[in-house]
């Protein structure tokens, strides 16, 4: 059984298709990054999983429990950390956590113990008597994480937790997430900072216009294969830089991507290293004076842009649109 399972999920707000046929599964104990531009459907998907919104159509399950049919059970299993949450006036950090611990049903000694554990974990002890609405962004995020962890949830859903944090706070947050991952919690996290997600996530989900466009691990994306169907190489030559692009025009399995100072970036449409050797040999045979030829490790931002770019050109198949008669009455 997966920790999170979404099947053909649709969420329409009037004519706006916020989530448009999303399907994915995340296994227990894994950390999954959820990547997409603003308005791509990340928050809506996460809110449905957190039982805060409902699907127009489709199903969403947390640990096998349907979020629409059994929201109360799901809430016991999840910790939700939204991208923005307000804090209360005239309430200290300690009182804030105490309120949520009470609201979660903890009583007496157990409640105080749980608060203590969470404050120790999130390093909130020095801030215990500070008013919760007077904290910095980083402190607020730690407080939010502490609140989300109070009932020791199996699954943690975090929407843009690193947004607006300074580098130090980011490092601290990343550390906390790593520790939680080691404890075996399933973490579903969205972020704009792909490099950070790549470091801590077992898998990455790319969403665009309400549809999942990629689900895989960051290493595959960095190597430049998978959905792109090829491998990227940086080629430098001695002589005319245009020689590389001119040469690529005549080659069936090689695509010239962009010009660089002394050559360019090319894609060879196979992962087979012997084919790359063949391409290199042909280049040399055709008179190119190669000074550098190496496989490129792309960063995740490039991978994301590439995938979106390919989508825009209409290459991958897309899920069918929701039939109009299936739409529920909704604002």
């Amino acid at each position: 059984m997966s920790a999170l399972k979404i099947q053909n999920l649709y969420r329409y707000f009037g004519n706006l298709k916020a989530v448009n046929g999303v399907t994915f599964e995340i296994p227990h104990g894994s950390v999954c990054g959820f990547v997409g531009a603003n308005g791509a459907g990340k928050t809506t998907t996460m809110r449905i999983l957190a039982t805060l919104d409902y699907p127009t159509l489709g199903s969403a399950e947390v640990c096998g429990i349907n979020v629409v049919h059994h929201p109360a059970e799901v809430r016991k299993l999840i910790g939700w950390m939204p991208d923005h949450f307000g804090n209360y006036e005239h309430m200290t950090v300690l009182e804030y956590l105490d309120f949520y611990a009470r609201a979660l049903g903890y009583k007496g000694k157990e409640r105080r113990q749980r608060i203590q554990e969470v404050m120790d974990f999130t390093d909130l002890v020095p801030l215990a008597d500070r008013f919760s609405n007077k904290l910095s962004k980083g402190m607020t995020q730690r407080l939010g994480l502490g609140r989300a962890l109070l009932h020791d949830p199996q699954v943690l859903i975090m929407d843009e937790p690193a947004a607006g944090l300074d580098p130090k706070a980011r490092v601290e947050l990343k550390h906390l997430i790593r520790v939680l991952a080691k404890e075996g919690k399933t973490i579903f996290i969205s972020s704009h900072i792909l490099s950070e997600l790549g470091e801590m996530c077992d898998s990455l989900l790319f969403i665009n216009n309400g549809r999942i466009v990629h689900h895989g691990d960051s290493e595959t994306l960095r190597r430049g294969s998978d959905t792109l169907g090829g491998v990227l190489y940086d080629v430098q030559v001695d002589g005319k830089p245009d020689a590389v692009s001119d040469w690529c025009v005549l080659q069936p399995n090689v695509e010239f991507l962009e010009a660089r100072k002394q050559g360019g970036r090319i894609r060879i449409d196979t992962e087979d290293p012997t084919k790359a050797a063949d391409v290199l040999a042909r280049m040399v045979k055709d008179g190119l004076r190669i000074t550098e030829f190496h496989r490129e490790q792309r960063n995740l931002e490039d991978a994301f842009i590439d995938i979106i770019g390919r989508l825009d050109s209409g290459k991958p198949a897309l899920p069918p649109p929701l039939p109009e008669e299936k739409l529920m009455v909704d604002g």
Partner: protein, 488 residues
């Protein structure tokens, strides 16, 4: 780190109450109110003490004490509830709470009880001043204590109304009651100092059956109104898969049936029946006609489970305005029958044509904004706001033509506004109109509005069919898929 100071409130107290008290007691609003209140009371008692030789010093002191308490309890404290829920919604904290074990009702109730519990110290601190005032003479002890209690209970109900309305995202709905409270603030001293206080005392001494019954009826009314308001607030903040509407409708339905049954008793004054039905129906009907029509399988499930009776009950009791229209029609039918039977059917009927016109005018005045809101509300959660706005427009279209017609003595022009049922409220006051004509006209207008509303509701209700099918498919399965889905 020692967490000992987290034991300041016992576990048995509601978490919401603990939170609100911690915040509220530190808030400047409460502290300032409390201090100003105490300062003013002390000053007035001293002033009254120096003037204690005069005969009316005691009643003057009472008037001032009650005016101050009424201002604090009926105006300032309820106004503190104006942002109770909206601050949680805009602060994005309501969702955090929804994910805990706190139900929407407990959140709203906690907000309300916290404000009420802050009114309590104000009430308690008034008692020493009343004891001092006793020595000035002329005090009606029982009457003043009952009056004080009634003020406190009214404060509780008004606070409930404010907390209930505070969940609305539109400011207009939160500002309107505040304007009303500010006006009340000016009216209170006028009522209490111009003989009103003595009138209240006559009732509050509970010396007659009439006064006892009136106070009991008043208590029932404020309790029902307060409960309706809190229940409405609960519906606003509750997750869409929760149903808080059916219970509210069942209570109003039961009360309507009870009132209709009581109305059959020959000793019951038949003229009071429309008022009684109006009080019961107003909150129930307005909320039913303006509920969002978002339908999810978990809401339908309890109805589907009960087979045909459940399906029939769903027509009236399912949350959402489409079923709300059918429910309203049912309540109006019961109330109409209740009034008719109370007045005595047949040729010897005692019914008053003016009361009938006024009642039908008010009914139409509620149905027309509901019809407009049903057809012109793009966002489901704005339906109630739109209803209020349309109602205000109708009120304006009633007042302005009436003033214009009166100024020019052209009352007949009011017929141009007969599409607005509220205009009959002014027309019924004019002698130039035939009452039977007005009755026919208001009945026709109401009938057309009701038919259009029912038609709109029927179309909207048909869209629930698929959700019903999904709920039926989900019966017996623990975590069923929502529906058969298109393959991606």
């Amino acid at each position: 780190m020692a967490l000992t100071h987290l034991t300041d409130f016992p576990d048995k107290l509601s978490p919401m109450l603990v939170k609100e008290l911690r915040q509220g007691m530190r808030a400047r609003g409460f502290t300032m109110l409390f201090l100003i209140f105490q300062g003013l009371l002390a000053f007035i008692l001293l002033s009254a003490g120096t003037a204690s030789t005069s005969d009316n010093a005691g009643s003057f002191a009472s008037g001032v004490i009650f005016t101050l308490f009424a201002a604090a309890a009926l105006v300032i404290q309820p106004m503190r509830g104006a942002n109770a829920l909206s601050s949680e919604i805009t602060g994005n904290t309501i969702e955090m709470m929804a994910l805990t074990r706190l139900s929407a009702w407990r959140i709203v109730f906690g907000k309300w009880i916290a404000i009420v519990s802050q009114t309590t110290p104000i009430l308690i601190t008034i008692i020493p001043y009343l004891i001092l005032r006793y020595f000035f003479g002329g005090m009606v002890l029982l009457g003043e204590m009952v009056f004080l209690t009634l003020l406190f209970l009214t404060s509780m109900a008004l606070t409930a109304v404010m907390v209930g309305l505070s969940g609305n995202s539109t400011k207009i709905l939160r500002v309107l009651p505040v304007v009303g409270f500010i006006l009340t603030l000016q009216i209170i001293p006028m009522i209490l100092f111009r003989g009103g206080f003595n009138n209240f005392m006559d009732y509050c001494t509970l010396s007659t059956w009439e006064s006892r019954f009136s106070i009991l009826a008043y208590l029932c009314f404020i309790a029902y109104f307060g409960w309706c308001a809190l229940s409405f607030g609960t519906s606003v903040i509750a997750p869409v898969a929760e149903n808080h509407s059916t219970a509210r409708r069942l209570v109003a339905l039961a009360l309507t049936c009870i009132a209709a049954a009581i109305g059959l008793h020959p000793d019951v004054e038949y003229r009071i029946m429309p008022v009684v039905f109006g009080i019961i129906l107003a909150p129930a009907v307005i909320t039913a006609l303006t509920e969002p029509s978002i339908m999810l399988p978990p809401i339908c499930k309890p109805f589907v489970k009960r087979g045909l009776p459940g399906k029939l009950a769903a027509i009236f009791l399912l949350p959402g305005w489409p079923a709300g229209v059918f429910y309203t029609t049912l309540l109006l039918a019961i109330s109409g029958a209740g009034c008719f039977l109370s007045a005595g059917p047949g040729p010897g009927s005692r019914y008053d044509i003016e009361i009938l016109i006024i009642s039908l005018s008010i009914v139409g005045g509620i149905l027309l904004p509901a019809l407009l809101a049903a057809n012109f509300s793009k966002q489901e959660n704005k339906r109630f706001t739109n209803f209020v706005v349309f109602l205000l427009v109708l009120v304006i279209f009633t007042i302005i033509p009436a003033i214009f017609a009166n100024m020019n003595s052209h009352e007949k022009y009011l017929w141009f506004f007969a599409w607005n049922p509220l205009i009959f409220l002014t027309m019924v006051e004019e002698r130039s109109f035939e009452k039977s004509q007005l009755l026919t006209a208001v009945m026709v207008v109401d009938f057309i509005i009701l038919i259009l509303l029912l038609g709109t509701a029927c179309i909207a209700y048909r869209k629930y069919r698929e959700t019903f099918d999904e709920a039926r498919a989900g019966l017996g399965s623990d975590a069923p898929p929502l529906t058969s889905l298109p393959e991606s």
